[in-house]
Amino acid sequence: MLYTSKAGAVGDSQRAANREDVVVCPGLPAAGVHAMSNADLHITSPPWFPVFHPGSPDAWAIQSLSGFVFAVCAVILAIVTGLVVFCLWRFRRPEKREEPPQRFGNVKLEIVWITIPLLLVAVIGIATVFTMKSMAAPASRPPDLIVRGHQWWWEVEYPQPGIVTANEIHLPAGRKWLVELEAADVIHDFWVPELARKMDMIPGLKRRMWLEADQPGVYQGQCAEFCGAQHAWMRFQVVAQSPADFSAWQAGQLQPAAIPSRAEAREGQQLFQQMTCVTCHAIDQSPGALRTAPNLAQLASRYQIAGGALANTPKQLFQWLMDPQKYKPGCKMPDLKLTDAQAHALVAYLEGTP
């Protein structure tokens, strides 16, 4: 028995939350507003250089190390380039026939340019080890979040209180979360440049890392390990919320679905059951729900569909349902040969449009 969700209501309230309450992080103009007013949500304005725009203590630590190492490298590059250009300018003798003084080497110089780089790399090495140790995630306690990579979407599981969603990670800002990473098929890689290191997701193994956002905001993430035809559209968002908003979001996700009120949405619900949708997609949080494809419960509350290939608007969801292979060629979602009316009905059901 499937329940009709209050997806519409929850989704709308969620959007309202994004619109009004979320303090987006600096350089990220009101993602929610922009997203929902613009059909192309993934064209929000995140920072130009997310790697250098740290939004968590770990990301800050990496940036500090990077600043030091880049500075050392810049000095060395400047010296090498300077010397080459100086030679070019000073020692150019196109017409000189006599040979210059023949010098064969200088052991003292060799010692100098072996020792100084050795000291430099030793310092870099020590800084590296300390930075690494500061970020090591413990194996002892249960994770707050489990993210599982699939070709080409993200399964996001909250063991407590038992929520499974997809392609969007909500978490409370300012809290250090332990994330467990797994893979369902091939190797993927979890990467949110503003918030944390990247970490491979390897089938058969469990990996752990910290994930944290200092400020509420929407952070772009993506798969960083080539994983097949649609690696490009295996993107996701991390939505960091104030603890109150996060609790509201969780409560919304757990809301049992209600019977759709509109006839079109009810027809969509029937189609969802009758067509092949249910053989892959779950649409509620019942234990043992299918995980072969994104869980569509509360789909309306999400920013994007199709791993970032499209924005989650009724119009783009309609386009997606009509021809998924056009927008994400090679993906597992088949062309269901829907009529316009059927697709509209499914959109009404999934988006809970009033």
């Binding site: 490298c73 070019l88 003798r93 000189k96 064969f104 290191r197 390897i202 080539f226």
Partner: protein, 560 residues
């Protein structure tokens, strides 16, 4: 100065000793010089293919959300581009130059095993053709040049592409190992009297180390790809977690080969630079012993750094620290070379030929690639930057800014010896500037794209801030590189027929290959000059100021 160089017409191409003429003479040849040239021609052929693949990719990426190529096609193209450039372009060019030059540089008649040499080349050519046959047989490999399992396994890669990848690399790999054994034995056993290992040209030292690397590294790859093939065809499950296998074992195997491979591609370019810079600075190489010894250090260390390709895998702090340490350490012997090359130019009389321009540009471009390598050894930086366009920038600065710039320097430097005619210097300078501008436009901003969060190996990308414009600049740069290759092709074809006659020693160089005619006769030397030091031709033309005597005057340096 060398006043005795005679300007002689090129010797007829067909050797008198050969029983065959024309095309058959080339197919049946066991002459190291002809085999060297065959390697270079095969590399040029595959370079055109690999370059064309790159141009198509840049076209697709020139703006967000383009549909020039389908995702499957794009994935096949980047896999083939990487595989082609590494195995069918860079390695064959290196084997080509090594084949042609090593026997001449050490005053030998040929390599140790001439027929094995021919076999190595034909294995390379047909291995490459086998790989490319995949396009006609249902699709090229599409799991990337390092074919990570389980993506490369049957369930996720059902076309025959990966099978052709395995077979193609297996065949060329056997050729490479045979070729390396040949070079190793040649260098150890066929040196002219007086030419000790402390006197051989540095290019020979580099080829020697490369041969050692190939002999130790390629068999690891060959074993791994055979296991992959058995997985794919007989479901053995070596790398399949569902069957008790491990995808990580594949990565360990692959990079145990893969990192020495980087030095297989880099060391010979170091050797080329070590020949070109002294001649056009009119000075001996500075710190010969240190350049040679640092190469040995690299050879040894290169087998202890493989897991720096796997920092994002989650091996743990201890393992990561070890590989960070070795990876940082290997920067030191590489840096030693850079300083010695600069010291060689210092107070020299620089002649800015096209070869020298490429060598000097190499110093800067390769340093950029080397330094970005250091940033990857600082593990947390790798956690941000690996598998992004920053990595694409890094590897192209090493393999193009390093290896290919070195090869271009070598081409301008040794083309006269191989063909008997000079390359046109005006076209050469045009080629040089187009290459420098095109290369840096294409790849410099890839560093920024990585920091902007753009992952590598995506067939398209969203319109995030700055991504579109930087990709467009990169595509424009790639087009300039495309034009530069056409200029080079024009120069080669034109100069082959109409170039200035080179004579034995157009650059007034000092190593043995310049002591014979250009091109050399089939038997290489009528008489090998006496060898009493590292620069036999210098000694020949400067009686009373030989290297030995000059070094005694300098005092500090030891007698070679």
């Amino acid at each position: 100065m060398n006043g005795t160089a005679e300007i002689a017409a090129p010797v007829p191409a067909v050797e008198k000793e050969s029983a065959h003429e024309g095309l058959l003479a080339w197919v049946s040849t066991v002459d190291h010089k002809r085999i060297g040239i065959l390697y270079l021609l095969a590399a040029a052929f595959f370079f055109a293919l690999g370059g064309g693949e790159a141009m198509l990719m840049r076209l697709q990426l020139s703006w967000p959300n383009l549909h020039v190529l389908a995702p499957d096609t794009y994935n096949q193209l980047f896999t083939m581009h990487g595989t082609t450039m590494i195995f069918l372009v860079a390695m064959p060019v290196i084997f080509g130059f090594a084949n042609y030059l090593v026997p001449l540089m050490i005053g030998a008649r040929d390599v140790a095993f001439p027929r094995l040499n021919a076999m190595s080349f034909w294995l390379l050519l047909f291995g490459g053709l086998l790989l490319y046959f995949s396009f006609a047989a249902g699709g090229a490999p599409d799991a990337g040049w390092f074919s990570y399992a389980p993506l490369s396994e049957q369930p996720y890669s059902s076309s025959n592409g990966t099978d052709y990848y395995v077979l193609g690399l297996l065949v060329t790999g056997i050729g490479s190992v045979a070729g390396s054994i040949n070079l190793l034995v040649t260098i150890l056993k066929f040196r002219a009297p007086g030419l000790t290992m402390r006197r051989v040209p540095l290019f020979v030292w580099m080829v020697f180390n490369t041969a050692v690397l190939v002999i130790l590294a390629i068999p690891v790859l060959n074993a791994a790809i055979v296991m992959l093939l058995i997985d794919r065809k007989f479901s053995s499950g070596f790398f399949q977690p569902g069957q008790g296998g491990s995808p990580l074992i594949w990565q360990h195997f692959f990079w145990t080969f893969g990192h020495p491979e980087v030095y297989i591609l880099a060391l010979p370019a170091f050797g080329m630079i070590s020949e070109v810079i002294p001649v056009f600075s009119r000075k001996p190489i500075f710190g010969y012993e240190f350049v040679a010894a640092s190469t040995v250090a690299i050879t040894v260390l290169s087998f202890g750094v493989w897991a720096h390709h796997m920092f994002a895998v989650g091996l743990g702090v201890l393992a990561n620290s070890f590989f960070a340490g070795t990876s940082l350490l290997i920067a030191v012997p590489t840096g030693v070379k850079i300083w010695n090359w600069i010291a060689t130019m210092w107070q020299g009389h620089l002649k800015l030929t096209t070869a020298m321009l490429f060598a000097m540009a190499f110093l800067v471009e390769f340093t950029i690639g080397g330094l970005s390598g250091v940033t990857f050894a600082a593990v947390p930086m790798d956690w941000q930057l690996t598998d992004t366009y920053y990595l694409v920038a890094h590897l192209h600065y090493v393999l193009f800014g390093g290896t290919i710039f070195g090869i271009f320097a070598a081409l301008y430097y040794w083309f006269p010896k191989m063909s008997g005619r000079m390359l046109d210097e005006h076209l050469g300078r045009l080629h040089f500037w187009l290459t420098v501008v095109g290369f840096n436009l294409t790849f410099l901003f890839h560093h920024a794209l990585g920091i902007m969060g753009m992952p590598r190996r995506v067939y398209t990308y969203p319109d995030l801030p700055g991504w579109g414009i930087l990709n467009l600049v990169s595509t424009i740069g790639a087009s300039i590189m495309g034009v530069s290759v056409l200029v080079l092709a024009r120069n080669l074809l034109h100069s082959l027929r109409h170039g200035k006659i080179a004579g034995d020693n157009p650059w007034e160089a000092w190593t043995l290959e310049w002591a014979t005619t250009s091109p050399p006769p089939a038997h290489n030397f009528n008489k090998v000059p006496p060898v009493n030091g590292r620069r036999p031709l210098w000694d020949l033309h400067h009686p009373g100021r030989t290297d030995e005597e000059l070094q005694k005057q300098e005092g500090g340096a030891r007698d070679p």
